[in-house]
Amino acid sequence: MTNRQFLLIVAAAQGVLLVALIVLIILNRWIRLRRSAKLHPRRLELDAVMRRWTLSQAGADDVLRGLSRLPVSLAIDALVNWSARVAGERWQELSHALEHQWWARVVRANCRSARWWQRLECARFLSVAATQRDIGRVLRLLRDHHPAVQIAAATTLERLTSPVLVTAALEQLPFLGPTVQAYYASVLKRARPAVLRHLQQLFRRLDDPRLPRIIEFAGRLQEPVLREPFTTLATHPDAEVRTQVARALGRFPHKESVAALGYLVQDEAWQIRAQAVRSLGMIADPATLPLVREALRDREWWVRLRAGLALTRFGAFGRNVLLETEVGVHTEARDMARLILGLSPQALAEYAA
């Protein structure tokens, strides 16, 4: 074959491909239009049935029939959308009815699929339709390596009460990315009693590398029974643990919290001092005013900023300290006091956020 013949073959192949691509584009649009025209009335029909079902004017069988007429992904979307609008018991009835549907069985089996999107579909389905028999599947999905699957599986905890799942989610918490972790935490807050029991056990494992993340989460719960473990951890050798403790204690206005923060505000690490002084501002106990005033002279800019902002929470006492410092001899404290006094209430509120 000569070079020219080879190029001719390539050119011909390109021509065929070009035509094929154009046909593909046009066909794709046509098929989508047809599919949407076919499915849209079915979706509307299902919405109508769901509405009647919520008013007890239609039976669960009608809903199941409507769901089975849609492609699985659309049926799951519809379930997820409607689950937020229907009361618990009634929805549980539907969840139990769904157990016997063939398509729901296939979706459930996908919890072991090698393809993450199939596991995601299963997790989304279980997040609204799981029953006690699905705990093993949800457990598996909670431990999935794909964060999208983890997020969907964690949502199940909103509907399914199970100490096993709560423990598994809590165990998983420190290994997750920060945002997925925060999402888990918001879900776990709803299962408070089981969470508190398990947290108290975790706090006893002082060498556990997961401890900072566990404290971060526990702080968000603002549960009084957790205050004592926090104050005990104020002397922990790990700086990250102490930072999280300093942050969490601001949410517990108690004399023991103040004592622990008084210790942390003198820590070697500036991040811990900044957090501690911020928390002292949140508690705003007048007895701690000298500590915050001292922090205004800290060698680190961020600690001075946090101290200045904390003083604004002490009302007139704090303002007087700032005014005194503004004309004081300590240059850096004076600059910071001047800066804080010049901030508008709006700017202060934004810093406090």
């Binding site: 020219r4 190029l7 390539v10 390109q14 999208a148 997020i151 990315g177 945002t179």
Partner: protein
């Protein structure tokens, strides 16, 4: 002489085959990537995440230099983004027009003291303003120092861990920020994420939002729609799989602030510097591109301004490749050193030189009778056909995934532009990029001005299209 021409011809042929095989690889890799990204984009659990406290707060950096025409619309649009926690820092980079006055008037700015240390050195700050009407807005007025200097000033002032740089002439879709944070939710290794930039010319814009996506009827902006689709939808998606994307659009990219603090922002080489820093520090990282967050930008409508833009872009590319030549084929930098840098150096930076050399050698070969005319014409036909295939493939990816252009007329125009791009327009871009070599040769670092028309209101825009 004949031997030289034959050898050069062979070299160019090998280059053509190598480069196009790599494009074919990118094309193949873009298929699973778009499939996966579309799946994730449609996941409704992320919609639920949007309403939770789990989202990381974001700082939006808006450098503005002589952006009086668009600044109010852009900032208003950004302020209405669907995101729970974000702040906007607009940096007026010594504008000579009334950009600052426009902002002051529109958002009732008042001066506040500076409350942050200068982490990265920048040109002097004249004043810092907050808005009486929009608590999320901070405006920094500083002396002119260029876009990178403005970004550094904004990074110093930012409070949040993720920062996104947005050009003042860019319109971000309401849910784009939420979508852009998705990789940060899915992995803790993400250092930066790039989103898609699309062409706003010809679209209907209302209240700083693109309400109706259209393909422009005018040739130059229309053909840039195809160029942008090709660059974003298959080029960058393909690079995701190769782990070495060197490009995140300066107009729309989300970065982890701690890394920017470490390296500072310097013009067009930001992502290369980021790769180098993270590799040297042995920090595991990913810099992916995701296609569903969309920002719309106004592209040049006149050949003169487009020429200046392309020449400037290419000059930036040449400068970056030269500055980081140490990473080229260097295994220490992993896929960046072994795949991305060679591709961007030989396949992008030097491409105009090689293409022109190809034309010259072919003409010389024809004159000397070394090259057969039908063969040369056939070769050009195959080269152009391949270009058309790549552009059409970008249209296919758009159609099977996001389908922003709903009208049949727009689709027809897209197809037409994809076919016509190789006839005349491509050769013009080669010439513009070639001019960058001359400019670099003469050490002239003149940055061109981009003339903005400003986004028109819905009515005006439709009327404008009717006139066209």
């Amino acid at each position: 002489m004949t031997h030289v021409i034959q050898a050069t011809d062979l070299l160019i042929l090998a280059y053509f085959l190598g480069l196009n095989s790599f494009y074919a690889l990118l094309l193949v890799l873009s298929i699973p990537e778009i499939w996966e990204q579309t799946r994730l984009a449609e996941d409704e659990d992320f919609q639920r995440l949007m309403q939770s406290d789990a989202l990381p707060p974001i700082t939006i950096l808006v450098p503005a230099h002589n952006e009086s025409a668009t600044i109010e619309t852009s900032v208003t649009a950004i302020l209405t983004l669907e995101y729970r926690s974000f702040e906007i820092i607009v940096v007026n980079d010594g504008s000579k027009d009334d950009t600052l006055e426009q902002l002051r008037h529109a958002f009732q700015l008042y001066e506040v003291p500076r409350t942050y240390p200068e982490g990265i050195a920048t040109k002097p700050i004249r004043a810092v303003y907050r808005s009486r009407t929009r608590t999320r807005l901070l405006v920094i007025d500083k002396e002119n120092g260029g876009k990178a200097d403005s970004l550094n000033a904004a990074i110093n002032a930012s409070r949040f861990p993720l920062v996104i740089a947005v050009d003042a002439d860019t319109l971000i879709e309401p849910d784009a920020l939420l979508r852009l944070t998705r990789p940060f939710l899915l992995s803790s290794k993400i250092a930066a994420v790039g989103g898609t930039v699309r062409v706003a010319n010809g679209c209907t814009v209302a209240d700083g939002r693109v309400t109706d996506a259209r393909v422009p009827r005018r040739f130059l902006p229309g053909i840039q729609v195809v160029e942008y689709l090709r660059a974003f939808l298959f080029g960058r998606l393909g690079w995701n799989r190769l782990g070495g994307s060197l490009v995140i659009s300066g107009a729309f990219g989300l970065f982890r602030k701690e890394y920017l603090h470490a390296i500072g922002v310097e013009d067009l080489d930001l992502v290369v510097r980021l790769h180098r820093h993270l590799r040297r520090q042995r920090i595991p990282y990913l810099i992916p591109f995701i296609p569903d967050p969309v920002a719309w930008t106004e592209v040049p409508e006149s050949g003169r301004i487009l020429a200046r833009q392309r020449e400037r872009w290419h000059r930036g590319l040449l400068a970056a490749m030269w500055q980081y030549k140490g990473t080229l084929c260097n295994p220490r930098y992993g896929p960046v050193g072994l795949i991305a840098m060679p591709f961007f150096t030989f396949g992008e930076a030097l491409a105009p030189l090689i293409e022109v050399m190809g034309y010259v050698v072919t003409i010389a070969g024809l004159a000397l009778g070394v090259v057969d005319l039908p063969f040369a014409l056939l070769f050009v036909l195959v080269a152009w056909g391949y270009g058309m295939l790549l552009s059409l493939w970008a249209v296919v990816l758009e159609e099977v995934s996001f389908r922003r252009y709903r009208r049949i007329g727009d689709l027809a125009r897209l197809l037409a532009y994809a076919m016509l791009e190789n006839f005349g327009y491509r050769q013009r871009t080669v010439w513009w990029r070639l001019k960058a070599f001359f400019t670099v040769w003469k050490h002239r670092q003149v940055w061109g001005e981009m003339t903005r028309k400003g986004f028109e209101s819905a009515g005006k825009q439709v009327a404008g299209q009717a006139r066209d």
